[in-house]
């Protein structure tokens, strides 16, 4: 395991290796060498399974972090690959040639975060959202509550009968329940 990590650090621009023993390690890799690294892991190191692929929006640092979770069945070990991409140029190499199922994830990321994966099949078709006309909803600058109230309306909750507030209103009706 350590040999492999050392080899990876030597050959690729890997930084920040974080071990989460006993079954998982995450490492951060440069955007340009990420696809090459993942291909290497799949073909040479036995990480043949793509568990999932997702994205984290770090709006404060102006980056999206893509997470590729790979699994090695022989060693029962998972490897998380973190790739930072800029929010200004949200584009990443598609890995649908490595795992055919990746294009579903990429389609979802395209819809939810607006990340482009050139060459990925059916990328611009609607996936979960139909006829979406706003900025991608999982981006953190998207205000879901405001959007929900504007489009779907809002219904007030039932009136509170919390005893303390109720007694205040009963005892001091002229002051609107304020006993000052």
């Amino acid at each position: 395991m350590n040999e492999m990590l050392e080899r990876l650090q030597r050959d690729f621009s890997v930084s920040e290796v974080t071990a989460c023993p006993p079954r998982m390690t995450t490492l951060k890799v440069d955007k340009l060498s990420a696809e090459r690294l993942i291909r290497e892991l799949r073909d040479r190191e036995g990480y043949t399974h793509l568990n999932f692929m997702t994205c984290i929006d770090y709006i404060e640092d102006n980056i999206f972090t893509l997470v590729y979770m790979l699994h090695n069945y022989d060693e029962k070990h998972s490897l998380g690959i973190h790739v930072d991409i800029s929010r200004d140029n949200e584009e990443m190499v598609s890995i649908h040639t490595l795992w055919a199922q990746a294009w579903t994830y990429q389609r979802e990321l395209r819809e939810m975060y607006g990340i482009r994966f050139p060459g990925s099949p059916r990328l611009d078709e609607d996936f979960c959202l139909e006829g979406w006309d706003q900025i991608p909803p999982m981006r953190r600058e998207f205000d879901t509550k405001k959007f929900s109230e504007e489009r779907f309306g809002h219904r007030e909750g039932r009136e509170s009968e919390e005893p303390r507030q109720h007694m205040k209103v009963e005892l001091y009706p002229n002051r609107g329940g304020d006993e000052k």
Partner: protein
């Protein structure tokens, strides 16, 4: 008994292409008029109340409660309730919990295809005010803006017992002739349709699905 069809007032079906417009009806929905003799109408209502056929369309997480309802423990067949695979044969639409916009489109389409008289039961808190999805980007908050609701069963999630209680309440209401949600839908058709089109942006189906 159905009112005679007014052929002059038709729907636009603007969401369809010109070719598709020839394939779909553009007639407006028609209101149901009760039988002139009250005893006959009462008898019809009694029959309706005791043969509630639920559309087997699980629209949200609450659909999980419909399965135990049908099996031996709660055995909804006792009340004449049964599941139906197609909207053409069913009379009750149970909205099982939240309705996302994508599902709402299918709900509208299925509801309009159901034969009258038809009833809508909303299960759970989500169709009332959004519930825990009150700030979601794809879940409607006020379900009664889009379809007429006859009965709410609130809770998250309501157990099958409550659903049985709700069905019995619905039966009582039908027997009393109070469940006329389908007529409300026809009378306020333009309002409902405008609300539906406000949230369903890719409207590529007829305005009324006969």
């Amino acid at each position: 008994m159905i009112k005679s069809l007014n052929t002059e007032d038709t729907l636009e079906n603007a969401g369809l292409t010109e070719e598709e417009q020839k394939l779909f009806s553009n007639a407006r929905p028609q209101a149901y008029e009760p039988y002139p003799i009250k005893a006959v109408e009462d008898f019809a209502n009694w029959a309706r109340a005791n043969s509630l056929w639920i559309l087997a369309f699980g629209t949200g997480c609450g659909a999980i409660e419909l399965r135990p309802l049908m099996t031996a423990r709660f055995d909804a067949s006792r009340y004449g309730v049964s599941g139906r695979p197609t909207p053409r044969q069913s009379s009750v639409f149970v909205i099982g919990g939240y309705a996302s916009v994508k599902t709402l489109k299918r709900i509208v389409r299925s509801y309009e295809q159901m034969q009258g008289p038809k009833f809508v039961i909303c299960l759970g808190i989500c169709p009332v005010n959004g519930g825990m999805y009150f700030d979601s980007y794809n879940t409607v908050n006020l379900f009664d803006q889009y379809l007429p609701v006859d009965l709410y069963i609130t809770g998250c999630m309501p157990r099958p017992e409550v659903l049985v209680a709700g069905i019995m309440e619905l039966q009582t209401m039908i027997k009393a002739g109070k469940c006329n949600g389908a007529n409300r839908y026809v009378e306020n058709f333009d309002w409902y349709k405008a609300n539906q089109k406000k949230v369903i942006k890719n409207w590529d189906m007829p305005d009324y699905n006969w």
